[in-house]
Structures are given as structure tokens and as C-alpha cells.
Point group: C2
Chain length 320, copies 2
């Protein structure tokens, strides 16, 4: 059985862990958002790829949700001693080695997919880890600029990490998306997978960014397996991250129904066959099989059960 | 009083510290070798500049002689976990921040002299710290290649750090030296200084590299102040480093006299007016005022006394 998961960072990583727990023998391909990627201090940083890699490779700091367990911060402190900007980005010493290797390999001409495969040799995440694209696609955020009365543009990381998404976003811009192609293996995986799952990641700046890569949405619509999404919104609130700061920018209601309708049914030009909402939530999404199941990934058993529920929705005739 | 010191790493840094101790009110310009510079993991590393900066900025690891006190090695360990080469280079976490800032500034187009001035704002070394050149000049070492019976070329750091200079050098090559110019301020400092001192650094790959930058030797010969060298060889042995592995490559005897003659008298086309050798050593260097004084920089008082002796030789009529 081959399962493809579209994923962002923390939520996507936990969902993938639950999936591997539920079906350890399945072949799993994770197509991961790289729109959060950023160059800091000359280092190429891929937060979502690393979060998935560290989480599945048992190196994640569970409490923080990102970065490595046992992390130290010497380089960051020393950079601050030089007054080097930015000081708001959490660059750990252990993490930094990943970025150094990545940056050097990219500089030598290796595409991100090859670099990711190399890094994964160490972490053995148990999934095939694919960046959504080998081309740089960076999410920038357009906000009000009180100084001029006009607008200004920030990198997503600055908006997200430095400002905690507190600045009202006018719109998101996917810099480079027009020239991007799906990463090697992405279209093929989507075409042939027995099931495609959309992790409960941010529908705008994680899953939305993956879907925005030209060719991905078409591949999803043409997929032979069923496509099942998991709502990141529970009882009208984002489970983690700040999807509630992103959805209104697209005019999408912060609710399981709002996100489900935003993704839409494959039969009507959207991407979903089924949509999982939290027990007690309801969602009317025309043409989509909506199911209520517990969505909270509060412990390994609950996370595994959620992944199983997604699989059950994807493979209704399966003996599983 | 303005004093210019040509310096390499550890020996040069300690000599400079003694000089500042001896004449705290003097204006001191350190012209530092950059032939040891190397790019590792995409980071531009300037070992001699950093050793001088950390030493005079009270950040040096005294025991090791290079790198920072309280250094940690997390990034290096993590790079090794990825199998990233090289593993033989001592890249500390604290040190790494220096290289990140430098690499980013160089990448943004700042010349090394500006980068060095920026880094020195933090460390406050108490001297004007000038790279010998803003152009890249890297010392490479040509050694026998048993595999082919011919020769192969290593970066100086690989020869020095990885192989501990154990491979017989056929010759040294200063890559880029033909296109190099003295760094901003170097020629002017040499021209107007009251005294020019050659620190007891490696005469081949430290002082020799500085002197090899087109224009430096001429500036030294035209200097209005006297030029005093300090022998790095005591009783026929290198005080530190591996000058004894370098001098024979140039056909220079490993002795205070050998090095003194190699530098030569200004009056005969060389660079020296005076030459300090260790108590008990002798050296006949035609045209040069040779003086025997204690050269061991074994403690602050001895180091200060050595610097004072160099100044006495440079400023014979001074009331100091």
C-alpha cells in the first residue's frame, strides 16, 4: 500500500507519525511544504522538511514541536553578540549543522530533493520525504505600512515568528511559484498512490502552498486513489499554529466547514473526496464524504486512531 | 607613537599583547596574514585574524592558543553525524558565529578589511586590525603523490591541521597573490610608522605570505621607521607551530641566523634593520643590528619585556 501525505510542519509531522504507527508496513511518501523556507545568515533553512525529518527520525524536541531535542543555542547567542540580525529566529546549534550541509549541497548544484534525501539518510524518517518543489517558492506576507499609509512585504517567517502573525495580512504572495514545478516524484506518487491524505496542516500557508505549485492540483484531481483531508480547525479554532490569522485573508471562514469548502470536492473542481472533522463539529461540503472523528493528536494512540480514520475514509472497501 | 606589526596567528597575537602591555598608549596597527584563510562548509574562515582578535579581545582559549574560551563543539559533532567532510577541522560553535557574520558580509560585497573592522567592534582588540590584503591569497602546499609518482596540492590548512605538516612539502604556492594588493591602510601605515616589528611568526607561511603581497615589501623598504624582526627560531627549533617544516622548503636553515639572513638587511634589499635572537643564540646577518634578548613569551612580564626590547631596537634614540 502506498500512501501520499501532503504536509506542513508540526501538525503534518505528528500526523505522519500516527500514520506510520497505524500502518508500519505501508510505503509512505510525504510531500512537504517548502514555502516557509528562508535564508538566514546565508543558510538555507527548510522548517517544515526539518520538522518532519526530526519528528519521524526521533530527534524532535517534543515540547517545542520544532528543532532538535537537547538543542543548544551558542551560535545564536554569539551572533547576537555581534549585533547580527535577525535575533528573533530560533537557530539552534544542532539544527545549524543541517542547514550548513544543505546550504553547501545546494551551492554545489544539488537540487533540494537530493539534499533532502541525503539528510534523510541520517534521520531515517521511515517515509520518502519529498519537497513540494525543487524551485524556490517563498511565502511573503503583504501588510499595512503605517509609516507610508501603503503596504510592505515581509517574509513569512518574519510575519509568523517575529510578529506572531499579529500584523493583519492583506494577502500572501508565493514568490517564485509561477516558475515552480512539482519536485521529482511528486506527480508520480500522487498519480499512483492508493490514498492521498491532506494532513491537518495550515490550509493556506502549508497545504495551500503545496497545492499552489503548478501541476500539483491537477495531479491530485487525477489521482486514482481517494483524497482525504483532515481539518486543522476544531470547534472554530486552529489546533496549532495560526490558521485563524491566515484563513480570513482568503475570505475563508475559520471552521471545519469553511476549510472543507475551500478545499472543495474533486467532483466539482476541488481536491477532496472525504473530509474529517472533529467529533461534534459539522460541515456541509457538497460532494464530499464528511466524517466526524476525534481529531486531537493528544497522544500516540489518539494520533494513530486519527490516521486510521483517514485511511478508512480513503480505502472504504479495504479489509483493513 | 605609531607601531606597525606584521603578524601571523598565535605567536603574533601574543607578541601584540605584550606590545600593548609595554606601550598601552601607542597606536598599534596589526597587519595580519590571511594566507591561512579557508572556506569550510561554505564559511569563510580567517584563522590568523581571529586568533589576533580573540587574543587581544580577551576571548582566546589560552591553553589551545586558538579559538574561544568556553568553546563548545555541537555543530562539528552534528556535521560529523551527517558524514560531512572535513572532520579534521576544529570548528567551534562560538567561532562559527564569527564565520557566519564574515561570510554573509563578504557575500554582500563588503571587503575583508571592512568585515574585520566590523567584527573588531565587538572584540575591541586595542589595535587597528588590518588583513594583509582584501584579495583572496591562499597558501597551498605541493606534496609528493605516491599514487601517481607525481605531486598533488593541498590547501595549507589540510597540510597543517590534518597532516600536522608531516607530508614533505615540495613548495608553497600563494594562490591569487599576483592579483593581490595590500589591504586598505597597509602601505600608509608602513610608510609613516615610527617602528615596524615583525612578530615571531612563521617566516614562510605567515610573515612570508604578508611580504609576498605585491607592494608590501616595497612599502617596508621605504618605511621611515626602523624595521625590527623577532626570531621565531630559538636554539635551532621553532618555538611553536612548524616553521621547521617550512623553512627547508625554501632552502633556509632552521636557525635564528638562517631566518635573519632570509629576511635580510634593508640596506641590501631585505627588510630588516634589527634582528632579535634568543639569549645564547648568535646570528651574523650582514647590515643588521642583531641583539640577543630573552625571546620566550612564557608569561606576561616576559612577553612585555620582549616587546620592549623590540621597541628599543626600533627606537634607539627614544627616551622610552
Amino acid at each position: 500500500m502506498h500512501i501520499v501525505v501532503l504536509a506542513g510542519g508540526v501538525g503534518g509531522a505528528r500526523f505522519l507519525r500516527g500514520l506510520l504507527d497505524a500502518v508500519p508496513d505501508a510505503e509512505v511518501t510525504a510531500v512537504v511544504n517548502t514555502g516557509d523556507d528562508v535564508t538566514m545568515y546565508g543558510l538555507r533553512i527548510c522548517p517544515d522538511l526539518d520538522t518532519v525529518m526530526y519528528t519521524l527520525g526521533d530527534g524532535i524536541d517534543e515540547e517545542r514541536g520544532w528543532g532538535q531535542r537537547g538543542e543548544t543555542w551558542t551560535v545564536k547567542e554569539q551572533l547576537a553578540a555581534y549585533g547580527a540580525e535577525p535575533t528573533w529566529f530560533g537557530l539552534g546549534d544542532r539544527d545549524l549543522a543541517t542547514h550548513l550541509v544543505r546550504t553547501r549541497m545546494l551551492g554545489a548544484g544539488h537540487p533540494l530533493s537530493e539534499v533532502t534525501a541525503f539528510l534523510a539518510q541520517r534521520w531515517q524518517p521511515g517515509v520518502r520525504l519529498l519537497p513540494m518543489s525543487d524551485q524556490r517558492v517563498e511565502t511573503h506576507v503583504v501588510v499595512d505600512d503605517p509609516a507610508t499609509g501603503g503596504e510592505r512585504t515581509l517574509h513569512f517567517q518574519e510575519w509568523w515568528v517575529r510578529h506572531r502573525a499579529a500584523l493583519d495580512a492583506r494577502r500572501f504572495v508565493q514568490v517564485g511559484v509561477d516558475d515552480a514545478r512539482p519536485g521529482p516524484g511528486v506527480v508520480e506518487a500522487l498519480a499512483t498512490a492508493d490514498a492521498v491524505l491532506l494532513a491537518p496542516s495550515n490550509p493556506v500557508v502549508s497545504i495551500g502552498t503545496v497545492l499552489g505549485v503548478p501541476g500539483v492540483r491537477d495531479a491530485l484531481r487525477a489521482a486514482s486513489g481517494r483524497v482525504v483531508g483532515v481539518s486543522p480547525i476544531v470547534s472554530g479554532a486552529a489546533l496549532r499554529g495560526m490558521a485563524d490569522r491566515c484563513l480570513p485573508v482568503l475570505g475563508v471562514e475559520v471552521s471545519a466547514e469553511g476549510v472543507g469548502r475551500h478545499y472543495g470536492a474533486r467532483s466539482t473542481g476541488g481536491v477532496l473526496d472525504a473530509w474529517l472533522v472533529h467529533t461534534g463539529d459539522t460541515a456541509a461540503v457538497p460532494g464530499v464524504d464528511v466524517r466526524s472523528v476525534p481529531l486531537l493528536m493528544s497522544d500516540p494512540a489518539a494520533t494513530r486512531a486519527l490516521a486510521q480514520a483517514a485511511l478508512d475514509a480513503a480505502l472504504p472497501g479495504s479489509a483493513r
